[in-house]
Amino acid sequence: MPDGYDEVFAEPGRPREHAVALAAALAELGPDALSNAGRMRDSIFMQQGITFDAGGPDADGPVRDRPFPLDLIPRIIPAAEWTDIKRGLAQRIRALNAFVDDVYHAREIVHAGIVPWELIVSRSAFARAAHGIRPPGGVYCHVSGCDLVRDADGSWKVLEDNVRTPSGISYVLENRVAMTRVLPGLFSSYRVRPVDHYPALLRGALTEVAPTTADEDATVVVWTPGPFNSAYFEHAFLARQMGVELVEASDLVVRDATCYIRTTNGLQRVHAIYRRIDDAFMDPLEFRPDSLLGVPGLMRAYRAGTVAIVNAVGTGVADDKAVYPHVPEMIRFYLNEEPILQNVQTYLMADADERHAALARLGELVVKPVDESGGKGVFIGPTASDQQIAIQADEIRRRPERWIAQELVRLSTCPTASPEGELVARHVDLRPFAVFGEDIHIVPGGLTRVALREGSMIVNSSQGGGSKDTWVLEDDAGETTRAAAPAAAWSPPELPGLRQGGEWSGQQQQQQQT
């Protein structure tokens, strides 16, 4: 890809400084070993049940129980670059959190004329029921996963925010485990920061926000819509890793203004719920009355402050695609800082001027529906036919408020293994995961998604995308020497020798001597 940014090669055949060792290791490995490793990965994933179901547009019917598509070439992020990303993300999450708090309380940003009130209330994720509720610590967006992309000039941009129920963290952890098992040799020249403390971080944050009295242990649960949800694997994974119960709506019950789970020992109070279910389905008394997945009265308990809901109700207003263009302004308004990570240039189709400008050059832009996720309904101008462009233009004219248009970002590419083990350049994005308890913690790296089709920029796994293990490197090269020093100075405690099985005949002789 001559006009894009490649994560490994600065120019064809010349790897970037941090990737020299990786390129050498891959060259040494060769295509055959790589494709063997791929088969081993698939069989490990199948054995462990790390699979996904998808029904892509090109597939012949829905696909079931495919091994999760992990590409074996890792994506490497140098330490310095990661520091910037981390600072930028933490800043952005603080601003989004402040925005949610503001929307449901004082609405200062509206009074200051920065975000119009009509825009906020017309968002489908705006939750009237959340008005005036302030959760412990004023944290709403406990769990977030913003999508980042790298533009052709190498700079990082935020493509989308996600502060509802971002998924994918289980694949980050499983990918790392699989990589250490399948291709441990690739790690030998690098010190990669571990990711497996995420469940501990999440559990810590949940415990921190749980409204418990001093001598009470917090009961934390993960709430899943059920085994038919496409992310059920992740829900079960997180519950297992955190050592908490995985509950469905029928396990939860609200009495007066307190939430309980039904156990074999009767009702047990619940203090914090990590919910993987949309606002609209949570409580049929407050939101959709036809929801069978909800718990009647849950909002009452939430309002009374007896249970923490993570993420808080109504956060979806902050990651709405039509609110997204205002995020840099939010950062300036709430934090009085300049944004570290930039937005992709975005046009609101509801705005007449921007709409006219965009319609005139629709063939160069990307158009997205504001209320969809997972890459559904995305229109990419440069790859569309004239007829498709005309249809899309009609759609926009018909309901302009449903659409936004964005400049096309040439996603960076990263070498990716083809089924035959050859290296080919494919487009990637990055979704880092953050946990906001008393402080913001971001797991090093995140989920790198990769479009497995040549030239494609759609990375969603439901649309035939794969993923990569993402390595954030330790601070500097001096790390290894520092680690070796204490090992030499250390001496183990005196242990008795390890007994080996004695010979029976030897025992007899000893016995006769006594």
Binding site: F187, Y190, V192, R193, A200, R240, Q241, P492, L495, G501
Partner: protein, 318 residues
């Protein structure tokens, strides 16, 4: 039953248990070592530490990963390797085929043959996970078949006794080497570090379900020492060992090892429950329990196998 057979069964149990623990530790350390950022503070579970745990002489240079993996896994010239233990157990099993069920013999024999396959050393170099998975799987198969097909008689009791005393000893050795001493002062262990300790025994999810605390060095140490509900904890192994010997011994009320184990079991229980705040005691307790178990081992040899074991040196700290 014949003392010779009982002795053989006891050692088959010990060797298989040691092989499994060694494989799990190697797998755990390998996984932690492949990634960076592990050895800043907290728990010491490194290649160096593994050699110390397995009682090997420490080389004068810091041992490399490949060196330790080779030496402790497939190296048949090293009596303390997984392959050696399995082969020894299989040799022992040949002499006790009359008390083993046919399926047990087959399980242990195919285990031995599987480790002889030539492609193992290649697998060990490129990614040892598959070798350790094989060891864990085969151990699981052997104990499963044993539970399903072996008569619950004295022979079964001695096999179990060997497996459990070894399990307790291996966990104690690991904790003694890996846990930071109390006198190291303030040790806010790195979370990942203590995770490695749990992964090295396969107890991560059990810990998560049983203990609300984050997996730092201290709660993990207490869990692996005291938590009777976790089958590989020292307390659970002591309990099972006590049970096995009580079954094997018609006169267990007068049996020195059984009496000693009863006292040890009560002591562990007392410390974990009554002295809950006694956080400083774990490191010291590890040494004491290990010493007691060495005494039990000597008592067992004395009482059942005709008095053939080296005397246990006195514990300096007692």
């Amino acid at each position: 039953m014949l003392a010779r057979i009982a002795h053989e069964l006891y050692w088959i149990g010990r060797q298989l248990s040691r092989a499994e623990h060694t494989a799990r530790m190697l797998d755990g350390v390998f996984h932690a070592d492949v990634q960076g950022g592990r050895d800043d503070d907290g728990v010491r579970l490194s290649w160096d530490a593994l050699l110390a745990i397995m009682g090997a002489e420490r080389p004068d240079h810091a041992p490399t990963r490949d060196e330790v993996v080779q030496r402790l896994t497939l190296d048949r010239t090293n009596p303390a390797s997984v392959a050696s233990y399995v082969t020894q157990a299989r040799e022992g099993a040949r002499t006790v085929r009359d008390v083993f069920s046919a399926e047990m013999w087959e399980a242990i024999n195919t285990f031995h043959l599987g480790l002889l396959r030539r492609d193992n050393s290649a697998a060990l170099r490129t990614g040892p996970y598959s070798v350790y998975a094989f060891v864990k799987e085969r151990c699981g198969l052997f104990w499963g078949v044993t539970g399903r097909t072996m008569l619950r008689d004295e022979a079964h009791a001695f096999l179990q006794a060997g497996a459990r005393i070894e399990a307790a000893d291996m966990v104690l050795r690991m904790l003694r080497v890996a846990l930071p001493g109390e006198d190291d002062g303030d040790h806010h262990a790195h979370d990942g570090q203590a995770l490695a300790l749990l992964q090295a025994v396969g107890g991560f999810q059990a810990f998560r379900r049983a203990v609300p605390a984050p997996p730092n060095a201290r709660p993990v140490g207490r869990f692996l020492l005291y938590e009777r509900a976790y089958p590989d904890s020292v307390a659970a192994s002591v309990e099972a060992l006590h049970g096995a010997l009580s079954e094997a011994d018609p006169n267990y009320r007068n049996s020195a090892p059984v009496l000693r184990l009863g006292r040890l079991q009560a002591d562990l229980d007392f410390r974990s429950r009554a002295l809950d705040g006694d956080a400083g005691g774990v490191t010291q307790m590890l040494g004491q329990v290990q010493h007691e178990l060495a005494q039990v081992d000597a008592d067992i040899a004395q009482r059942y196998f005709g008095g053939a074991s080296p005397p246990v040196p006195r514990l300096a700290t007692l």
